[in-house]
C-alpha cells in the first residue's frame, strides 16, 4: 500500500526522516517503561528490606528480602528437610502437569460432547453447575484419605480444579460455533464427525486455549494445596513446614519459586497459543500502529 502510494505520488510520500523519528520515539518509550518497571521493583524490595532492617515492621512476621535470598541459597546448597530442592520442584511440577493433562483432556471431551448433544447437556447441566459451586479445594482432604499421602491425591485435586475451567470454556466454545459455517460444510457433504473435526473443534480451540492460562494456575494450586494437606515430598510440604517453624523467609522463598515456574508455564502456553491460532488476523499492537 505504501509502496504503490509512493510510486503514484512521490512528493506526498512520508519522508524517511519522519519514519525514523517515529521509530526512535517508540524505542524511547519502551526503554522508559522498562526503567519504570525496574524502579518499581527496587522501591518495593528496597523498601521492604529497609523497613524490616529498621524494625518498623517485624521481620519475624513479614520476612526479609535478604533472608529469603539466603534461605534460597541454603536450599540450593544443602537441600530441604525432604531431600534436594530440585526433587521437591520436580515432584510438585509432575503432579501439576499430570493433573493438568487429565483435567484438560476430560474437560475438552466432556465440553465438546455436551456442547454437541443437547439432550446430555440438558440432563447433566444442573449437576455440573452444582458440582462447580462446591468449594472443590475441600475435596483435597478427601482425596488424601482415598488415595493416600502419595502423589495420586495431588494429581486428582489438580485435575478436578482444571477440569471445570476447561469444561465450561470448551462447552461455551462449541455452543458459539457459527451456524453458517456448520451449514456450509454440511451442504458440502461433511458427516457429523467431519463437522466436529473441521469446524467445531477449531472454532472452540480459541476458547479452550484461553482457558489453559487460568487452568495451569489452578493445577499448580491443586498440587500445592494437596501437598499442604498431607504429603511426603513437594514444595507444598516445604511451605507447610516453614510455616510451622515460624519461618516466613521459607514461605516467601517457596512462593517465589512457584511463581517463577508458573510464569515459565504461562510463557510456554502463550507460545502454543500463537502457534495453534496462527490463522487469526494479527492484533493491532501499539508498536505495529506506528
Amino acid at each position: 500500500m505504501t509502496e504503490s502510494m509512493a510510486a503514484d505520488q512521490p512528493r506526498i510520500a512520508a519522508p524517511p526522516a519522519l519514519d525514523t523519528s517515529a521509530r526512535q520515539q517508540n524505542v524511547r518509550r519502551r526503554v522508559l517503561v522498562y526503567a519504570a518497571r525496574l524502579l518499581t521493583l527496587v522501591l518495593f524490595v528496597g523498601g521492604w528490606q529497609l523497613l524490616t532492617a529498621t524494625k518498623v515492621i517485624d521481620p519475624f512476621f513479614f520476612g526479609q528480602p535478604s533472608g529469603i535470598v539466603s534461605r534460597l541459597r541454603d536450599w540450593v546448597e544443602h537441600g530441604t528437610a525432604y531431600g534436594s530442592l530440585w526433587l521437591q520442584i520436580w515432584i510438585t511440577m509432575r503432579e501439576a502437569l499430570q493433573g493438568f493433562a487429565i483435567g484438560v483432556a476430560g474437560g475438552v471431551v466432556f465440553g465438546v460432547l455436551l456442547g454437541q448433544v443437547r439432550f446430555l447437556a440438558d440432563v447433566l447441566g444442573p449437576y455440573i453447575k452444582a458440582m462447580n459451586a462446591v468449594p472443590r479445594i475441600v475435596l483435597g482432604s478427601i482425596f488424601v484419605v482415598w488415595l493416600g499421602l502419595g502423589s495420586a491425591s495431588k494429581v486428582m485435586l489438580a485435575a478436578v480444579l482444571v477440569f471445570f475451567v476447561v469444561f465450561f470454556n470448551a462447552f461455551q466454545g462449541v455452543r458459539e460455533v457459527d451456524r453458517n459455517l456448520v451449514a456450509n460444510v454440511r451442504v458440502l457433504g461433511a458427516s457429523r464427525l467431519q463437522v466436529v473435526r473441521n469446524v467445531v473443534l477449531p472454532s472452540a480451540l480459541t476458547w479452550i486455549i484461553a482457558s489453559l492460562h487460568v487452568a495451569f494456575g489452578f493445577s499448580v494450586i491443586g498440587a500445592i494445596v494437596g501437598e499442604f494437606l498431607g504429603a511426603q515430598k513437594g514444595l507444598g510440604l516445604v511451605i507447610a513446614t516453614a510455616q510451622n517453624n515460624f519461618d516466613p523467609d521459607g514461605v516467601f522463598g517457596a512462593m517465589l519459586i512457584i511463581a517463577l515456574l508458573a510464569l515459565t508455564a504461562e510463557w510456554l502456553i502463550g507460545r502454543l497459543e500463537r502457534r495453534l491460532l496462527s490463522w487469526r488476523p494479527p492484533a493491532h499492537t501499539e508498536a505495529g500502529a506506528t
Partner: protein
C-alpha cells in the same frame, strides 16, 4: 468445457455424472418457527414454486419474507412444517445431494487456507487429499485466484472471499446452486464483476439456480425467471419470465436496454407494494410509541 479443464486430475465430482441441473419443486410449503418466547412464527405460507432443470431463478421480496428459509429447505438443512420439497422428483430428506450453497455472510473457515477451504468439498466425498487439492487448485485458477492458495480468508478482500466461496460451492459440480444474497455486502463495481463471473461459470455447468436477492436489477440481469414474494409470511406473489436473450454480456450494460427497463417497471410495480407493506409494519409501532 469445464469437464475438459478438469479432466487432468482424477477427482470425479459427484455432480458431474448428472447431465444438467435438477428440477426443484416446492408445493404447499409452510414453515413455522418457534420463537424463544414460545409463540409460533410463520416464515413461509403455502409456497408453490418450480424451477425447471438448468434454469436460473431469482427470488426477490422485502426483508424478512422467508427468502433465505426457502433456500435452507431446498438444501435440506431444515424441514418444512407442511408441504413437500422435491429435487429431481425426489422428496428432500437429509442434505440434498449435489447442492452448492453460497451464503450471505462469509462461510469460509477462517483457520483453513484458501486451498483448504475449496478442497473441502471433494475431501468430504472421499477424494484423496492430493486429488482434492489438485481439483481445488484448478477451481481457484478458474475463478482467477491462482497464487492465493496459501492465504487465509482474512487476508483477502471481500470480493476475493466471494470468489473463494464460489469456487468452494462449484467444485462438486452441483446440479443445484443456491445463493443467498451472495454479493449483498460488496461494493457496486465488485458486485458487477462477480455477477458477470457467475454467469460465465453458470453457463459452463448449467446447474439450476435459486438466487435470493433484494436487488431487482441484479435479479433481472441474471435470471431466466424472477419470483416476487409477499411480505411475511412469505408466499409467491408472481413469477415473471425474463426473455432477455442469452448470453447477456456485461450486466452493467444490459440494464439500459428497453426490454430490461420494461420488465423492471412491471416487476417493480408488484414488488413495491410488498416492500411498502413490510416497511409500514416495522415503522408503524415506532410512530405509535412516540405519540
Amino acid at each position: 468445457m469445464k469437464s475438459d479443464t478438469l479432466s487432468g486430475n482424477n477427482y470425479q465430482a459427484p455432480g458431474s455424472a448428472r447431465t444438467e441441473g435438477a428440477g426443484i419443486e416446492l408445493s404447499g410449503v409452510t414453515k413455522r418457527f418457534l420463537t424463544p418466547a414460545g409463540t409460533a412464527f410463520t416464515a413461509l405460507r403455502d409456497v408453490d414454486l418450480r424451477v425447471r432443470a438448468g434454469r436460473f431463478s431469482a427470488v426477490v421480496g422485502p426483508t424478512g419474507c422467508g427468502k433465505s428459509t426457502t433456500l435452507t429447505l431446498v438444501a435440506g438443512l431444515d424441514r418444512p412444517s407442511a408441504g413437500t420439497v422435491r429435487v429431481s422428483g425426489q422428496p428432500v430428506s437429509g442434505i440434498t445431494a449435489g447442492t452448492g450453497f453460497m451464503f450471505q455472510a462469509d462461510a469460509l473457515l477462517p483457520w483453513k487456507t484458501v486451498l483448504g477451504n475449496v478442497a473441502m468439498g471433494p475431501a468430504f466425498h472421499g477424494a484423496s487429499k492430493k486429488a482434492a487439492q489438485a481439483a481445488a487448485r484448478e477451481w481457484l485458477r478458474v475463478v482467477g485466484l491462482a497464487g492465493f492458495e496459501d492465504h487465509h480468508p482474512h487476508q483477502l478482500s471481500g470480493g476475493m472471499r466471494k470468489r473463494v466461496s464460489l469456487a468452494a460451492a462449484l467444485i462438486n459440480e452441483p446440479s443445484i446452486l443456491l445463493m443467498d444474497e451472495p454479493f449483498g455486502a460488496l461494493d457496486v463495481q465488485t458486485k458487477a464483476i462477480m455477477s458477470n463471473e457467475l454467469l460465465r461459470l453458470w453457463d459452463q455447468t448449467k446447474p439450476s439456480v435459486i438466487f435470493v436477492t433484494h436487488d431487482l436489477e441484479e435479479a433481472i440481469a441474471l435470471a431466466d425467471q424472477v419470483v416476487v414474494m409477499t411480505a411475511g409470511p412469505g408466499t409467491v406473489k408472481a413469477v415473471y419470465d425474463i426473455d432477455l436473450p442469452r448470453p447477456r454480456g456485461a450486466v452493467q450494460e444490459i440494464r439500459f436496454e428497453p426490454r430490461f427497463l420494461e420488465l423492471h417497471r412491471q416487476i417493480w410495480e408488484s414488488l413495491r407494494e410488498e416492500v411498502e407493506r413490510a416497511y409500514a409494519r416495522t415503522a408503524a409501532p415506532r410512530e405509535g410509541g412516540r405519540s
